[in-house]
């Protein structure tokens, strides 16, 4: 009997995954849209009037039955790529997306070359003239 009750409890706990929770979907979408006034915030957290208006628009579109993608497209149709928190990957934004990896690899390559160069330099033994010079310098040091 207790097992059945436990099983039912667990099933009830999974309900949020099945419910068509408009609030959760709205919050998820709001976090993906940039506030155009406070441009480093999403409309989820921004206090700006326009952000509140856009949150309401998102809400209305969801209640009208739009899918998450359709809602985002609706806003994107009006404000363009900048309103998306994650800029789309296309030729114009390729530098933005590939840039850091590029710099990382480029810098890593330069470091590797520098390391290799210092390695080969270490392996050369001193020539006779260099050894004599070294002895002279050390002798002077000792005085």
């Amino acid at each position: 009997m207790t097992r059945i009750v436990l099983l039912l409890c667990l099933l009830v706990l999974t309900a949020p995954a099945f419910a068509d929770d408009l609030d959760a979907r709205a919050k998820n979408i709001n976090q993906k849209l940039r506030c155009l006034v406070c441009q480093n915030e999403s409309i989820d957290t921004s206090q700006a009037d326009l952000a509140a208006d856009l949150r309401q628009v998102v809400r209305e579109r969801l209640e009208a039955g739009d899918s998450d993608e359709a809602v985002i497209t609706y806003i994107h149709d009006r404000y363009g790529d900048f309103v998306l928190m994650r800029p789309p990957v296309k030729p114009a934004t390729l530098l933005l997306w590939a840039g850091p990896a590029f710099i990382f690899l480029g810098g890593g390559f330069l470091l590797w070359r520098f390391h290799k160069k210092s390695q080969t330099q270490k392996k050369k033994p001193l020539t006779g003239a260099e050894r004599a010079l070294l002895r002279k310098i050390l002798k002077e040091e000792r005085r």
Binding site: Q39, L50, D53, D77, R78, Y79, G80, F82, L110
Partner: protein, 178 residues
């Protein structure tokens, strides 16, 4: 000389960055401006009540029947830069430019004082601000140039200043008229 090239890369990067930043700072470009995504598209579907006449409306259709390019100016009586551009809009209207106003989240009572001198052919009342969103407007004032077929051709963000009249607005109107 060739071996020196890797050492010149940081200098090259510095020069490029300084040039880019100097250009951005000196050209007067507003980095916070977000362009409407409605450019080169038809005026969005909308219907708004009109300030000048109790039962009239301003709709998308009005923009398909104009004889030439027109301006649409989003403004508000609570917006300070809008006050600055009001005089310039009056000047444009005197030159014969047809300007439609859209009052963003405004109070018709306050508009009575604001529009004592009215540069607008018609003023739509966008009380909820929803029509502004449909136009891709993110702040006021913003002015759009619409051609005679009802296509949004240009967006001028921020107030229309004295120098903008001759250097920006009139040339854009001419271009849209072709």
């Amino acid at each position: 000389m060739v071996r020196k090239i890797p050492y010149l890369i940081p200098l090259f990067v510095l020069v490029v960055l300084v040039w880019g930043m100097a250009y951005a700072l000196l050209s007067g470009i507003d980095p916070a401006h977000v362009s409407s995504a409605r450019l080169d598209k038809p005026v969005p579907e909308f219907t708004l009540p009109v300030f000048e006449a109790r039962d009239a409306v301003l709709t998308t259709q009005d923009f398909k029947t104009t004889q030439g390019p027109v301006l649409v100016n989003f403004f508000a009586s609570w917006c300070l830069p809008c006050k600055a551009e009001h005089a310039q809009l009056l000047k444009l209207a005197e030159k014969g430019v047809r300007i439609y106003g859209i009052a963003y989240k405004d109070d018709p009572e306050k508009l009575k004082t604001w529009l004592v001198k009215n540069p607008y052919f018609r003023t739509g009342l966008d009380a909820s601000g929803r029509v502004a969103i449909d136009w891709g407007v993110s702040r006021v004032p913003e002015t759009f140039v619409i051609d005679s077929e009802g296509i949004i051709r240009h967006q001028h963000s921020g107030p229309v200043l004295e120098r903008d009249v001759e250097t920006v607005i009139l040339p854009l109107l001419r271009e849209a008229g072709q």
